[in-house]
Symmetry: C2
DNA sequence: GTCTATAGGTTGATAGAC
DNA sequence: GTCTATCAACCTATAGAC
């Protein structure tokens, strides 16, 4: 990332490049990709149309930049590593809100890429190369649950990966429903989903937690 | 649906209208909506471009027909009513496969509508008017689980709607991942999800199922 | 209902001056 | 780096004959 370089040489950028990218992302979210023309982007960014091509070569280059910008939050989540929290419910709350907030940003870009076969395949290749996708959220929660399971704080007979997929899937579905402007109230609220998953993860015999604690590894 | 009328009067249609719609749907799924031009539709359907406008007035009319065609399977599921099966696992299998198969057909149309704000709002209004959406699958499973719960075959302390949302959400996420050409193997398999949900729905005391059976209502 | 021909408008992209 | 001016391609839609 160029943002990490403390000092720059030479003439500072005029900000045209960033303005174009921001205008494109805003246009994409508000009007959809079919209205994302180089003309409207230039007008919204306050620059000429030729500047768009100067900075991004062609429309495909601009779109690629827009998609990577939209998926940037997931890359950042990449370095964050394992999720943590004082208790299981807090972990679920943080992860659930985090997923829905991220998808609110990323889904417009992801669905937009589906509008063209070439664009879709390009995005798929990019995501595969950077190991991006829904499995990331699943793995984060799955790893946490496996640890908790080893510590005896989660039912021993459940499959952490499968349970994680159901939780992440519910968040995913809620975010998608919201993005296509369908009433979110037709689906269970996030707290309700959290309560449900949290309840089902509880060890079967609540009074005998210490019995399983011996399996703690670290 | 006109398909239910047993007999027709007058001259039988030449099939041009259906050929155009089928070509448009195929083009949408293979190349995306941005390549769904009246030219290519006409060429693929083997008709002239003017025929497209004769049958569907304008491009928006064609798109509307394509979307309704893509969502038709869900309308059919509408009349099917409650889901059923010999046991809980079979019900989960049928519903899970049904959802993923349906989304395989419908998701291209749904995501395509997101490419334009006007089209997106139009589809959202159509779905709201016909009570379509992910909540349909959730409600179907939720109702089934509530019945099973009343019969004592499902844990009494779980929220049927929330559990249903996690299961449908997992199927939704898997179908979406597949549609955007990302490796499905990065997510848990459908049988694994089914096993997980099925296990967590089991009454807490396996040997004392009869204890809860007294709550059977019908 | 289907065709050919064409109008009218929008878009991505380039050339060349500043 | 940014601009104006321009082009070639494409797309939607209509007119009118068959």
């Amino acid at each position: 990332m160029a943002a990490l370089q403390p000092k720059r040489r030479g003439r500072p950028p005029a900000g045209g490049r960033e303005a174009i990218l921001e205008a494109a992302l805003g246009l994409l979210r508000e009007r959809g990709i079919s209205r994302l023309t180089t003309r409207e982007v230039a007008a919204r960014a306050g620059v000429s149309e030729a500047s768009v091509f100067y900075h991004y070569r062609d429309r495909a280059g601009l779109l690629k930049a827009v998609f990577e910008q939209g998926l940037a939050p997931l890359l950042a989540l990449n370095e964050a590593g394992a999720i943590a929290g004082p208790d299981r419910r807090t972990v679920l709350e943080r992860l659930g809100h985090g997923i829905e907030r991220f998808l609110e940003q990323a889904l417009p870009a992801i669905t937009a890429a589906q509008s063209d076969a070439a664009t879709r395949d390009e995005l798929a290749a990019y995501m595969a190369a950077n190991d991006l996708g829904a499995h990331r959220g699943v793995k984060a929660l799955s790893d946490y649950l496996a640890d908790e399971q080893a510590a005896g704080r989660v039912r021993a007979d459940i499959d952490p990966q499968a349970v994680a997929a159901t939780f992440v899937g519910a968040c995913f579905m809620r975010a998608f429903q919201a993005q296509m402007h369908l009433p979110k109230r037709s689906l269970p609220s996030l707290p309700a989903v959290i309560d449900s998953v949290d309840l089902m993860l509880a060890p079967r015999a609540p009074g005998q937690v210490t019995q399983a604690t011996r399996r703690r590894s670290a």
